[in-house]
Amino acid sequence: MKIIVCVERGADPEAPPASFKVDAGGNRVVLAADVPVVLDPYSEYALEAALKLKDAHGGQVIALSLGTDLPREVIKKALAMGADELVLLEDEAFADGDSWSTAYALAMAIKKTGDYDLILCGRQAADWGEGQVGLGIAEVLSLPGVTVARKIDVADGKAQVERVTGDGYEVIETPLPAVVTVSNEIGEPRYPTIRGIMAAKRKEPVIWKPADIGVQPSEVGAAGRRSRLVKLFQPVHKANCQIIHGETPEEAGANLAERLRLEKLI
């Protein structure tokens, strides 16, 4: 079984809110210098889903990422966790895409890898939270797509996917190949082992340029966008929390109840 996992890097979403600023022109998010770049959390869940399937059925896991100057120490975590190969679409032409142009480039790269069984993506990215790239890949490749998976089983050329819904989940059967987007309910991503980290250090990623995947630079990245960013701005939080005090924590608790009663909240 061959599984392709789309992964991406991003600013650590656990960073304090004050770390995220917008530049004067309202065009770019400026991160505080101490915000680490990490593998996107949902990319890690997608990898974990792939590695669980590999544990159960064997096969090959290929991690695929896209961008410019992809930091090796971050992106190689996919290998350290247990992916067999790392393929990078790394070129200026791939930069600043939207969901559509990113999905198109990834889909064309996936096509080039040949007979795959399953394509996994995070349900959304922590930064832009669009949740569209996986579905875009499914559309470009005319594959069935199942979103927000909490569990994936594979047997007899089919996958059974538990898809998270508003009030629980539904079990969906899909023929393979298929695209599945993965949610955090899949379970905590594994930590890389020392052996995994050492192996990842030695392994070099495969780099593909637009010509390698048969696309024109005008079809991908910023040039291939269908949407346009008008501006970015920072929301204003009115921080005016009134702290309720007491001689002891217990008294503060009782005082809070009194105050909320006065406010008719309870």
């Binding site: 979403p13 559509w100 949407s227 701005f233 929301p235 702290i243 503060a252 608790g253 009782a254 809070l256």
Partner: protein, 333 residues
């Protein structure tokens, strides 16, 4: 400029009930349609839709397309996509809005891409740019720390709208509108996926999305057993119980209790956050709450930035005293 005209919303009906998000979309869609001086239509797929169609008119639709077929009873992309693709091509709306729901977030991107256009998901504000006439879509990014305004020049302009971002209009029972039945015409070979089972895990009691009062716990609660204290308080306040992501990931409470960007989006009158730091992704799910009250031992916790009242202290000491006083106050009535 495009030939496309009018605003269309994709409505959701569950067990014959027009969903709250759909009424909100009609409120939002009406505003945009009025600005454009164009028509607002709604499309409903499923079964048993006639009552909901009339209701959609009272909430603002000028026209409702209903596609009633057994195959459409439950949402499946393979069944809904060809129906929506055909309907949207035939009716050529300028704007197509869906809810940022389990269905909307699954359907909108595929449909947009197949139609050669694009979608913006999880929008909290939509407006028409007076100069270009294009739909400007505002959405929170980077966990709500930054807002992005996005537009596109492909039609229809597709967006999904976050729950509680817009209010429904007052129902106007005298409003007139047209209901049009459309044949589904889904060919069974188009169906690749199949729903084997649907599992509901909703706890009994008040629904989280509808509760006026919500008591929620975070990572600091520490265990399944400790969550029981919050449940007791929620019962006392006739509210619902919720949680940030860590308690759900740790199995202290069911996944359906999760509030946040990837869980439920709620807008209660009173939200009590206990031992919950208030990560950006969590705050995104309660930004519509009218009164946030926090109990947390860390005075720097992010939750205090959005709270109206707070107590800085160990919840294990603060909460029992709070609950006891709430009980006494309730007894005074």
């Amino acid at each position: 400029m495009s030939q496309n005209q009018g605003v269309m919303i994709f409505g959701e009906v569950v067990n014959g009930q027009l969903q709250a998000i759909t009424k909100e979309l009609l409120g939002c869609g009406r505003k945009l349609a009025s600005e454009l001086q164009e028509e607002l239509s709604a499309v409903l797929l499923g079964s048993n839709l006639a009552g909901s169609a009339r209701e959609a008119i009272t909430f603002g639709a000028d026209r409702v397309y209903i596609v009633d077929a057994p195959l459409l009873k439950d949402y499946q992309a393979d069944a809904y996509m060809p129906v929506m693709e055909r309907l949207v091509k035939q009716t050529a709306p300028r704007i197509l809005l869906l809810g940022q729901t389990s269905i909307g977030q699954d359907l909108a991107p595929r449909l947009a891409f197949r139609l050669g256009t694009e979608a913006t998901t999880d929008c909290i504000e939509l407006s028409i740019d007076p100069e270009s006439g294009l739909l400007e879509r505002t959405k929170p990014v980077y966990g709500g720390n930054v807002m992005a305004v996005i537009t596109g020049e492909h039609f229809p302009e597709v967006a999904t709208v976050r729950s509680k971002a817009y209010s429904p209009l007052e129902a106007d029972v005298s409003k007139r509108g047209e209901v049009i039945n459309i044949e589904a015409e889904v060919e069974p070979p188009a169906m690749r996926t199949r729903i084997i089972e649907k599992v509901s895990q909703v706890a009994e009691g008040i629904r989280l999305e509808e509760a006026a009062t919500v008591v929620a716990g975070g990572r600091g609660i520490g265990s399944n057993q400790d969550f029981k204290q919050l449940e007791e308080l929620a019962r006392l306040l006739k509210g619902a119980i919720g949680a940030s992501r860590p308690p759900c990931d740790n199995g202290w409470i069911g996944d359906t209790a999760q509030i946040g960007l990837t869980g439920k989006i709620i807008a209660p009158d009173f939200y009590l956050a206990v031992a919950l730091s208030g990560s950006s992704q969590h705050i995104s799910g309660v930004s519509g709450a009218k009164n946030i009250v926090a109990i947390n031992k860390d005075p720097e916790a992010n939750i205090f930035r959005v709270a109206r009242f707070g107590v800085v202290g160990d919840w294990k000491k603060v909460l029992p005293a709070f609950t006891a006083r709430v009980r006494e106050l309730a007894g005074e009535n």
